[in-house]
Symmetry: C2
Subunit: 148 residues, 2 copies
């Protein structure tokens, strides 16, 4: 199976497969005489695993761990569960961040007439004194999405 077929069979694009190989998430596959990558059914199976993990928001590094857990026949199911729940907690942390932003902004927008006049509390609030997201997360709070 060449890379294009592996891509459509797994749902991982050819570009991404090469990238995953480059960063060491997956091993280099066999090559044909012409130098084409040649994937076994097992490798395609692994690519599907990777795709589903990615769809659940796991990073490449986390997927490395998941693959290790997958192939480790002696690990306890609690190891997997702990890993999964830690990720759930992280997803929920990001959700709370987004929700706080959305709520603040919706609240500001509610007080804005939204008509043809220039007066606008949204802009005024941004330009005036106090914090956009109130008291709780003070320092080191709103990291952008990639906080690892």
């Amino acid at each position: 199976m060449n890379i294009g077929q592996a891509a459509s069979a797994s749902g991982v694009s050819a570009k991404m497969i090469r990238y995953y190989e480059q960063v060491g998430l997956i091993a280099s596959p066999a090559r044909t005489d012409a130098g084409y990558r040649d994937y076994s059914p097992d490798e395609v199976h692994m690519l599907r695993f990777i795709r589903r993990a990615r769809d659940l928001g796991f990073s490449v590094e986390q997927m490395t761990n998941l693959l290790a857990l997958w192939s480790d026949r002696s690990r306890a199911s609690s190891d997997v569960k702990r890993f999964a729940m830690a990720h759930v907690a992280e997803l929920e942390r990001k959700m709370r961040e987004l929700r706080a932003m959305a709520e603040t902004l919706r609240h500001l927008a509610k007080t804005c007439h939204g008509d043809e006049r220039p007066n606008c509390p949204i802009i005024e609030e941004l330009s005036s004194g106090h914090e956009a997201v109130p008291p709780k997360p003070r320092r080191a709070a709103v990291r952008r999405y990639g906080a690892h």
Copy 2:
């Protein structure tokens, strides 16, 4: 006011201020004889505006638009409101994505015993046939956070 003072007065780090200048979000400030950046109170005010916008999850490009809306005395408040609500919609879209991931994963984890035995439905589900996030978002669905 030099860059360090402007940074602590605005909550935007010196590194970020230079970066914002470099990418054209803010204009080059005056310089002292020694070549130090010298910020006026108005510029510090603008930096605070930027910080609050950033805390609400606006991108640099969106902040450019917000600054334009801020300084445009003739724009309608509806322009600002529309812009804000579009961003709220985007934040909510990302929240839904995260929620779908978290729910799927929590659901998988619930069926996992989490004990010392190796058998684990989480891994089995990832490695077996069907989709991680069920039927709705089929193609072009789960883009990572940076989908502009």
